[in-house]
Symmetry: C2
Subunit: 342 residues, 2 copies
């Protein structure tokens, strides 16, 4: 059995209330007593019971984090950002992966409610509205990150995908490309729509038409989905000269597919990714992509939840806070001017 304040009290010859106050730094207790108690506590290797404390204080010093897949390199970098901030502020993390499975989402929300987490960060691109509503109704603040339905939530961190996609597209246009295609991930909801929208806006601004068959979405964002989606474009009579991919993972699959098809990148076809995951610089050729500040996004999300937990006494909690972060274009070697037409 772990040592309790009562054990310390007995050893120090005081009441348990005095111990409690001394350890919490309550000024009512004299400095000498406090010091003595602290010493005893250290000797006995005392660690306060978070359970007992939270029972009284209604605070657990724990945050819940829902992520679709822990092993997705994009989300795991965000996770790291969340963790750095949370740990710095003395908060622990309950992390669960939903696998985009409604049943698992239910279990996760139940576990988080039972553990009375102080706040929740949802990093899944989609999440059952009924589940999140249940949390909100019971006073658990929620911050969503890059969620497809960010409008449904009062607090969100969002990367400006439209801007990113516009920058990529503009760059391709400046290189001379006119036949630019988009390969999306239909499962990602708003994210793929934003990235497509950015491309469309910039193309329209340049007066370039986009044939319907130049927009293709496949259900998934892994390399294998990129590989599969590529076939659609290879079958076209008029192939695009540049392929804007939903994310780096799909682009990696596309690079592989183009290589198998014997098509030179970037000489014959330019390819772009999105996210700048760790491996994108090690592809062959290195991938031109858009760098989302993933670590920073996670950190901001954590800071936002924590702010909601200690509302500024003057202002009170903000009624609505949606932060949109911008990234930057990373030009590497998978893009070049289009092949000269004879």
């Amino acid at each position: 059995m772990a040592t309790t304040i009562k054990d310390i009290a007995k050893r120090a010859g005081v009441s348990h209330s005095t111990v409690s106050r001394a350890l919490r730094g309550n000024p009512l207790i004299s400095d000498e007593t406090s010091e003595r108690i602290r010493l005893v506590a250290r000797e006995m290797s005392y660690h306060p019971s978070a359970a007992a404390r939270s029972l009284k204080t209604n605070q657990t010093q724990a945050l819940g984090v829902v992520v679709s897949n822990i092993d997705d390199p994009f989300f795991s970098e965000i996770l790291q950002g969340i963790e750095d901030v949370a740990q710095g502020e003395g908060y622990s993390l309950f992390i669960s992966s939903s696998q985009s499975d409604t049943n698992r989402e239910r279990m996760i929300v139940q576990a988080m409610r039972e553990h009375r987490v102080d706040g929740v960060i949802i990093c899944s691109s989609s999440f059952s509205t009924s589940q999140s509503r249940q949390l909100l109704e019971h006073g658990v603040p929620i911050v969503v990150v890059n969620n497809q339905a960010a409008e449904d939530y009062r607090y969100s961190i969002y990367h400006d995908d439209v801007d990113g996609s516009r920058q990529i597209t503009r760059y391709l246009i400046e290189l001379g490309h006119q036949r630019i295609a988009y390969l999306g991930n239909s499962l990602s909801g708003r994210t793929t729509l934003d990235r497509l929208s950015g491309l469309q806006q910039e193309m329209e601004a340049a007066g370039l038409p986009i044939p319907a068959e130049y927009i293709h979405q496949v259900p998934g964002g892994e390399p294998e989905h990129g590989l599969a989606g590529l076939d659609h474009f290879l079958d076209l009579a008029d192939r695009p000269t540049a392929l804007v991919c939903f994310n780096d993972m799909m682009a990696i699959g596309v690079l592989k597919g183009l290589q198998l098809a014997g098509i030179q990148v970037p000489a014959e076809c330019s390819v772009t990714g999105f996210d700048n995951i760790v491996f994108s610089v090690f592809t062959n050729p290195p991938l031109t992509t858009f760098d989302q500040p993933k670590h920073y996004i996670g950190a901001e999300a954590a800071r936002l939840v924590l702010d909601l937990l200690r509302p500024d006494p003057e202002k009170g909690a903000p009624a609505l806070k949606s932060q949109t972060l911008k990234g930057r274009l990373l030009v590497r070697k998978s893009t070049a001017p289009p092949p000269v037409l004879y």
Copy 2:
């Protein structure tokens, strides 16, 4: 304020003890009363307070997981395995990354002791012995995964790296290679020693000598370390014809470096990785590697901790359990017979 069993008791016209028993399925309570109480609980959206419960039962239904870096694709796959099992058994996970920083390790252990996690899984290749001892002394079972000092712990899951490395080496020897070099990660402790040892054993069995300069270790296991470590071998007068890398990430860096140096893989030099991370199949050329069953390793680790928590009434907790799992060789395209010498 969340609803409590007292609220339910009031609404159902019984005492809170009856509610407690009914919800826990205690057979003392009549079926009709139980059913009625369950109904009321559902109506009021009751979720038991894990804090209050654990105060009485000394169980938190939570496991602590320490990982060196959450965003390491190797560990995050193991994490996913842990999570799948834990969630299935109704356990939540406290996940923290240590960054191999002693100070962070201290904070993590403190947080886990305060939250009274039922057990801990350490996935970090190194971890402060004094910190883990502190947990053990207070009755928290620990399972280590691929830890460099597995002998110091009673319960561990370990992948048979020696065997894996032997398989890789044997395969290279069978291809005809005689000049085989090893690029290690000096920070990974036992892991790199095992992999080196496997190579040495197989080389010796084949009667092939290993020049001292064919063994090179660099401090880190990321692509950039592979890239940096490659220089050592490129400077050699007698270059190796095959390069066995500590892991896939370093191999990815090596592939990049060889390409920059204008050396054909596998025609001029074979390269192997280790782990089979997601991206290894998408490198150029696809990487020959050794597949660790990462998800399974995580799952087994979780099962082992859970077993320790519910010791078999007959046998009691096993005094020692160390499980060594085997993987399999994945031959892809980064390996070929050595170039013919004229």
